[in-house]
């Protein structure tokens, strides 16, 4: 399965007077892993949410493969079938166990119970939690919870993974595990990934990095030193 091609043109998102994303254009090729850096408040989360159709831009267009993300007829289906979101916080539902959390998107896809179980077990296996299927989130470590959240993002076999500071809440050992995991998934399935992070390790894990400053893209397609870009 190939990754998606993402092309963003003249994207602007304003909240009232504040222009949070300011005339941003860039392209990500299928299978590419692109890092997104920038100080806190520079607009990374907003940009990822726009690409994932969780938010609507003020101006500009976003294309993911053939989808015009800003004019989707079925945004839910796009989120379900094309995109996998990994958030900074895991956002697992505390009353559901690991497998049930991973099955949430599969419920929306109206898969049979057997198919849901098969797929959720498969992706939980991929993130190394094949033996913790029935664990409640409260009984998992921070790193394990984030891995369940990654499994949830992978459950729909997305062509595009949007990860928003996926290791932001983790210690360095867990972070390392998560990075290795994401890199492995991307490599195996050819998935496209855009990942926002403050983590200095990001540069080694990506093909290139985009740097946001106050909602503007200051460099596109060049390798930057992440340690300098992030204050």
């Amino acid at each position: 399965m190939a990754g998606a091609r993402v092309s963003v043109e003249h994207l602007t998102r304003a909240f009232g007077q504040a222009t949070v994303i300011d005339d941003v254009s860039f392209t990500v090729e299928p299978g590419e892993t692109v890092g997104l850096t920038g100080a806190s408040g520079s607009g990374k989360t907003t940009l990822l949410q726009l690409i994932g159709s969780l938010d609507q831009p003020t101006h500009g267009t976003i294309k993911v493969d053939d989808f015009d993300v800003t004019h989707l007829r079925h945004p839910a289906r796009f989120r379900l079938e094309t995109v996998g979101f990994v958030f900074q916080l895991h956002h697992l539902l505390p009353e559901l166990n690991a497998q049930q959390n991973v099955e949430l998107p599969l419920l929306a896809a109206r898969l049979s119970r057997r198919e849901r179980a098969r797929r959720s077990q498969e992706v939980l296996g991929e993130v190394g939690l094949g033996d913790r299927l029935k664990a409640q989130p409260a009984d998992l470590s921070g790193g394990e919870r984030q891995r369940v959240a990654i499994a949830r993002a992978l459950a729909g076999r997305p062509k595009l993974i949007l990860a928003d500071e996926p290791t932001g809440a983790l210690d360095s050992r867990s972070s390392e595990h998560v990075w290795t995991l994401l890199a492995g998934v991307v490599a195996e399935h050819g998935t496209t990934m855009i990942v926002a992070s403050h983590d200095p390790a990001l540069a080694d894990r990506t093909n290139r990095t985009l740097n946001l400053v106050d909602g503007r893209l200051v460099a596109n397609g060049e390798r930057l030193d992440v340690r300098e870009a992030v204050q």
């Binding site: 969780l54 079925h74 839910a76 989120r79 539902l93 009353e95 998107p105 419920l107 929306a108 949830r152």
Partner: protein, 369 residues
């Protein structure tokens, strides 16, 4: 059904709230079940009421507020007895609330020579003669500890009890018979009757006789065996309308309770619905999910409510002092309706909260930390 498992999990996570919401529904459902049961019991009693011994038809005044307030002229008897197909006709006066300790007991004023009284089987004593005498049903006699030779006070008149009978009709076994003339004196209705019981001749069909009598005497209502008694009385209609209004109110109160709690729950769990939306749940699926939660809650309440309602019906009848002649009757249909209403409360109560949940923006909520 997209989301029964996560909906159940969400409800189990907040057991106290789920219980209280269910309880609100349970009380609403209980009210409805109790009213339906008492209404059915009253109707059964009413139906029985018209089976006046061996009579085929009962004649009542048209548009009387209640079968007991009907007034017919005794002179009607002469015409009736001459009507072909009618074997016998006998007048009855019904006195309600005239036995102080047992307000539910009915006193029947009847002609000792009429066909109705021939069916009384005496367990002790014998039929009354003329004057201040009465025969008492065995059920009433047991309740009031009456014996032959004792006195029964009816509307402040002390009557001599000459016999105790059993006939097998709850109304009559729980009441008493007195001479027609005495009942007319007590009620101040000289030459009048409450109802006239009619016995048809062999080969006369009740339906044909009913048609004929209604045409012949436009001022009367004819009640045949197995017909619904409430048709005869405006009071019964009023009762059923009142029950309906109370049921609707119960439904509204239950629905508002569910809406209130569900709304609170949805607002509290914005992040959860934002997440569902972000991972690909459509607005319709989120609406379904919230409605499933509402219905599960109220179904739980409905189960408890059915139980409360059956108990409540007994208490209600006792509170109304009507246990002598109304025993609440819970039908499967009444229980089914109550369950259906429970589901309806859940759906209606969850609609607005569901709409709110579906409108939660995935971006705004997930960005919060």
């Amino acid at each position: 059904m997209i989301a029964v498992v996560p909906a159940l999990a969400a409800l189990r996570r907040r057991p106290g709230r789920t219980f209280l919401t269910s309880l609100g529904t349970a009380l609403g459902i209980a009210t409805i079940v109790a009213l339906l049961a008492v209404g059915q019991g009253a109707q059964d009693a009413g139906n029985q009421f018209f089976h006046l011994g061996a009579s085929d038809l009962g004649l009542f005044q048209k548009d009387a507020a209640d079968p007991t307030t009907s007034i017919l002229p005794e002179s009607l008897l002469t015409t009736l007895r001459q009507t072909p197909g009618i074997a016998a006709a006998t007048p009855l006066i019904l006195l309600v609330g005239d036995i102080k300790p047992e307000p539910g007991a009915i006193v029947f004023g009847a002609d000792p020579g009429g066909f109705l009284l021939h069916r009384l089987v005496f367990t002790s004593g014998r039929m009354f003669g003329q004057g201040e005498q009465a025969v008492v049903g065995d059920q009433l006699a047991a309740q009031m500890h009456l014996r032959v030779g004792g006195t029964l006070t009816v509307a402040r008149r002390r009557l001599l009890v000459t016999g105790i009978f059993h006939i097998g009709v709850a109304f009559q076994d729980g009441g008493a018979f007195v001479p027609l003339a005495l009942a007319q004196q007590i009620s101040g209705r000289q030459s009048e009757a409450t109802t006239i019981a009619v016995k048809l001749g062999v080969g006369t069909r009740p339906a044909a006789a009913t048609r004929f009598l209604t045409r012949r005497f436009p001022g009367i209502t004819v009640i045949g065996e197995g017909q619904e008694a409430p048709r005869a009385g405006a009071n019964a209609q009023l009762l059923s309308k009142t029950s309906f209004v109370i049921a609707v109110l119960a439904l509204l109160i239950g629905g508002i309770g569910v809406m209130n709690t569900m709304l609170m729950s949805v607002v509290e769990r914005r992040a959860e619905f934002a997440l569902l939306s972000a991972v690909g749940w459509s607005a319709v699926q989120i609406v379904q999910r919230v409605i499933v939660e509402g219905v599960l809650t109220t179904l739980l309440g409905a189960m408890v409510g059915l139980l409360f309602g059956v108990i409540g019906a007994q208490l209600l009848v006792r509170a109304l002092g009507a246990q002598a002649f109304v025993s609440p009757h819970v039908t499967a249909w009444a229980l089914g309706r109550a369950l259906l209403i429970g589901v309806l409360i859940g759906v209606v109560g969850a609609l607005y909260p569901a709409w709110r949940a579906a409108r939660v923006s995935p971006a705004r909520v997930l960005a919060q930390r």
